[in-house]
């Protein structure tokens, strides 16, 4: 349990680092030792419960193919125009970190995506910013830089079609994909 809290704090730290320090919109830690509040607005973003499916055991029996299986969580969802990792995704990221640190042969690609709103090229930038937030969180948890790559698809590869919040919330995401 102590370890989980420590990991959560590390990820909170990563989330704060991820945001541009000049931005007034970055959420502030409320106090030491407690969870950072979700950075903005409404809930209902991207069905986090489905993303919390545990990944295998500590012994790393979970292979790369299994981790990318449709039933395994591998997606971190974000609030609109934000690149801060929300607390509900700390466990998911921690489980990937455990798997990666134990297996130096594994390579993970972090694919940043945005919803369709805004200009296409600027969205590439936002998607990259999200992928980098997850990369930093993983590195803070001990994953070597050499095992991680990022790519941003911006708004070009949506997970859901549609021009409403239901679709958008599924599209603002980073997918953690094991490379063969």
């Amino acid at each position: 349990m102590k370890r989980m809290i420590a990991i959560s704090l590390l990820i909170v730290g990563a989330a704060l680092l991820a945001g541009c320090p000049k931005k007034p919109t970055v959420s502030e830690p409320s106090s030491t030792g407690s969870q950072v509040p979700s950075s903005t607005t409404t809930g209902g973003v991207g069905g986090p419960s489905t993303s919390m499916t545990p990944l295998g055991g500590d012994n790393g029996a979970m292979g790369a193919a299994g981790a990318n299986g449709p039933l395994s969580g591998r997606t971190v969802y974000f609030d609109f125009d934000k690149a801060e990792i929300k607390p509900e995704f700390t466990d998911l990221i921690a489980s990937f970190a455990r798997n990666m640190t134990g297996h130096s042969n594994l390579k993970l690609r972090l694919e940043g995506n945005t919803d369709e709103r805004g200009t296409r090229e600027y969205n590439i930038g936002l998607g990259e910013r999200r992928a980098q937030a997850v990369r930093r969180a993983l590195m803070l948890l001990g994953v070597p830089e050499t095992q991680l790559t990022t790519v941003s698809y911006g708004a070009e590869r949506p997970a859901a079609e549609g021009d409403d919040e239901a679709a958008w919330s599924q599209n603002r995401r980073v997918e953690m994909v094991y490379l063969p």
Binding site: R117, T119, R120, E121, I124, G125, E128, T150, E161
Partner: protein, 432 residues
Amino acid sequence: MTKTFRAFLFLVLPVFCCAAHAEFVVEITRGQSLAIPIAVVPFSSAQESAASFDVADLVGDDLLRSGRFNPMDRKDMIEQPRTGAEIAFDDWRRLNSDYMVVGTLSALGPDRFNIVFELYNVLTRQRLLGYQISTNRAGLRLASHQVADMVFEKILGVRGAFATRVAYISVLGHLPNRRYRLIVADADGNNPRIIMESGEPLMSPAWSPDGQSLAYVSFEDKLPTVYVQTLKSGERHRVSARAGVNQAPAWSPDGKKLALTLSTRDGNLDIYVLDLATQALTRITDDPAIDTEPQWSKDGMSLYFTSDRAGGPQIYKIPLAPGSKPRRLTFQGAYNARPRLSPDESQLTFVTQEDGAYRIATMDLNGRGEMQVLTKGRFDVSPSYAPNGAVIIYASRDQGRGVLALVSSDGRVQQRLVSTEGEVQEPAWGPF
């Protein structure tokens, strides 16, 4: 095409829904009351072989789409003169036609045609233009666009841009089986030609200044790569496949360099200039913010670009001289991005956020930087000027589909081009 056209404010009017190979249906969504009435009389033909092509129909459609003209409906024409000598000017004056185009199309050989046309001022009975154009069948469309270009320029004093081309991205199918196509078509949407097709995203087509090549971004290898492809030969060169981001190519005015957005290892996007001959790479911006969407000034000495260094995205201009600092240009609103420069550099067009919607705006570059929002959609992005600066083409949404739309650069005339196949995105209007 009707008399009521002159009076409406909001009207949906399908124009060439039935053209044989049209990939688009054009709808005028907002017109202006100042459209000039003109009669484009059907071009008569002595031979059946030539009669199957309707020059006047194409010329009339071009003029209508420009938003500046109101071509007379054919069924309102009392007669169909072929030459100036046959025009009963008094009758046509009563029909409120200010100008008339008359002409003939004739076959000179198996695949050789002759277009003769004249433009008249109905009030003064003066002949303003008289030309003949000789072409083969494949050249009839282009020749007709050239007729429209000459008429447009003679009456308005602005070069016509009907005989030009537009590149865009077409997305076919649905998740997870989308197909992405880079297409080049005539400016009226006809003659679509597939330049590149992929199961992974294609984006950001950019014309070389000579109109011979397109630069674009392809994710065909799952990672972004910038390519330059020559249209005629189809020959393709990989220009940038560096680690990280390779995006937003923009040609220098002399066609020798590309401005690009690249990223450092920690994902910081900045703007670089790549010399295509020497491959020398020069970093232009250096800021932890997102710097992207570069666009060259006409003299090739500066770049306009988007940066969120002040919080949200805004438009900046930076001289290319080493050590230069960027200057912020937009201050109105929380989101202004993706600048494109008008051909005379008097105006910028870009995407702005207004009431939670994304719309096309312009900013005056000569005066006090006055900003005007031209469109009313929710998802209007990717504006691109026609080479004569009169019209801006952009990507919009219609009932959940990506469509192309046009707005005159003064905002008075709006049209929608609804694709008959798939969604369309990121139009880029080619040069003359």
